[in-house]
Amino acid sequence: MLNQNLKLNTKIFNDSVEKVSTRQGFGEGLLKVGGDDENIVALCADLTESTKTNLFAEKFPERFIQVGVAEQNLASTASGMAAMGKIPFITSYGIFNPGRNWEQIRTTICYNNQPVKIIGSHAGLSVGADGGSHQALEDIAITRVIPNMVVISPCDAIEAKKATIACAFTKDPTYIRLARNNTPIITTEDTPFEIGKAQIVFVPEIGLAHVGIIATGPILYKAIMSARELEKKGIKVKVMNLSTVKPLDENAVIALAKETKAIVTVEDHQIAGGMGSAVAEYLSQNYIVPIEFVGVHDKFGQSGTPEELEKHYGLDIPNIIEKVEKVIKRKV
């Protein structure tokens, strides 16, 4: 059942659950902080509407810089603006930002330690029809490896809005990973949010859990649905929303591992280097339990509906359930 303490969306199990994209949540969050603080500026590499940066651009045109299709300049120009005391948000698709401009992000943002907020939309297989060239499946890996960087992958539009607002007032270079499609609203305005804090969103009706599922991004919804199915089979599951991938909430991860002695990680990203890798790096050194990974296994994406792609690459509910059953068999 849903963790009552978090005031999550009680309609999540209805077929008619409201769906909004995380990019929309970002756009609304940026608009909000833009009104709160005139030091907020936004720069976009031509994808103003796709990234929902248009909400800010229309309200605060004097603080919006259109740099054209030039992601390298996007990152470094923002670094210069941050050096003058501004808080820049830079927006494009994840494949280009932080993909195309990775070294600019490393050097001018993270090495210079400037509080630039990097917004990568259209991440994951869920982009669908655009195909593999535009499905960012490596962005968590390439951002979390850079010192000073904070990496956030919000689970829904409401959390994306909160993450956007929260990161505007930290000194840290931050990457926020967003998705294109409308996805179920999991949290509510009343759900607490803090960068770096994981939350257990789903708990067994009674007793301890047999397995812990750790998910990041909108695919958290599928992890919750899987847990509900597993509950019917008598398998007790706790589901964690690990929206901040870096810094890792080590206390929460180890507590879940100690309770369940088996972990499954779920993400719309390459298995190599992703959130699951971050969890495994930590647990392998501190508390060893069997771990199964749900994610893309060393393959590029392709065109298709998000559902077709999730099934093909093993990111759907039956596959999550299978991984949970597999990890239970591996428990010592």
């Binding site: 740099v67 054209g68 390298q72 923002a78 210069g80 600019q104 210079n112």
Partner: protein, 278 residues
């Protein structure tokens, strides 16, 4: 920018000579680093730090200081030597260049030396950072001048042209770029590695106010900066023709000195030559 008197020029020449000596001493101590470009830019750095910039070495983070961004970070020995000469830190510290624990990293890093405006090195990026700073000056109505130093080889980078386009589009009149046109890069002559042609004309087509000067003539460079400041509608670029290795005859215009440091004999010979100029 007040005009330069003959007396002031004489003083600047002496200062530049001292900075060249510091560059050779520190590179010799370090055993590696970039000599040619650093020597070639000694005159321009001298002019900037001892005449042009609004800055205060005793209060390095003064909020209203002009900003000087070194984009081609590999010539940082000239930046460090000039800053030491201006009083930002003791000249003795120059001997720590490139050594473990130093504030003077092989390429500039402001985490170690906070008086630097940026951490730099990878080419093209400092230019963009300067553009970002000038955008802030424009949209927030500020009055600081943003100076960026670029190499010519740096124009091989796509990032550089992205920055040129954006600065032209935004009409960043507080931005003055000085291009070290010394015609060398690490593999050889710029026109052989990747022809750059007439950089002045290229900038012009992107909406820039353009100048071409002898980068070793204090009066010419200062005059271009003066005229650049009078332009309130576009960014300015000063293509400064310089001689890599300038000051040590044997090293001048030799691309082998782009990326290497002098050994003991070479350093002694060079220092002797520079002493002879005083």
């Amino acid at each position: 920018m007040e005009t330069l008197t003959d007396e002031k020029i004489k003083e600047l020449k002496l200062t530049a000579n001292n900075i060249r000596k510091s560059i050779i001493e520190m590179l010799y101590e370090a055993g590696s680093g970039h000599t040619g470009g650093a020597l070639g830019m000694a005159d321009i750095f001298t002019l900037l730090y001892f005449h042009t910039l609004k800055h205060d070495p005793k209060n390095p983070l003064w909020a209203n200081r002009d900003r000087l961004i070194l984009s081609n970070g590999h010539i940082c020995p000239v930046l460090y030597a000039t800053m030491a000469e201006a009083g930002y830190f003791p000249k003795e510290e120059l001997k720590t260049l490139r050594k473990f624990g130093t504030r003077l990293q092989g390429h500039p890093h402001r985490e170690y030396m906070p008086w630097l405006e940026t951490s730099s090195g990878p080419l093209g990026e400092g230019f963009s950072q300067a553009v970002g700073m000038a955008i802030v000056e424009k949209i927030y109505g500020e009055t600081k001048n943003i100076y960026a130093i670029l190499s010519d080889g740096e124009h091989d980078e796509g990032n550089t042209w992205e920055a040129i386009m954006l600065a032209g589009k935004e009409k960043l009149s507080k931005l003055i770029v000085i291009v070290d046109r010394n015609h060398i890069q690490i593999s050889g002559n710029t026109e052989r590695v990747m022809p750059l042609g007439n950089l002045k004309e290229k900038y012009k087509t992107f909406g820039w106010n353009t100048f071409e000067v002898n980068g070793h003539d204090f009066w010419e460079v200062n005059n271009a900066i003066y005229l650049a400041h009078r332009n309130k509608i576009s960014p300015s670029v000063i293509i400064a023709n310089t001689i890599p290795g300038k000051g040590v005859k044997e090293w001048e215009n030799d691309y082998h000195w782009h990326g290497k440091a002098p050994n003991k004999e070479e350093a002694e010979m060079a220092l002797g030559e520079l002493d002879g100029r005083l």
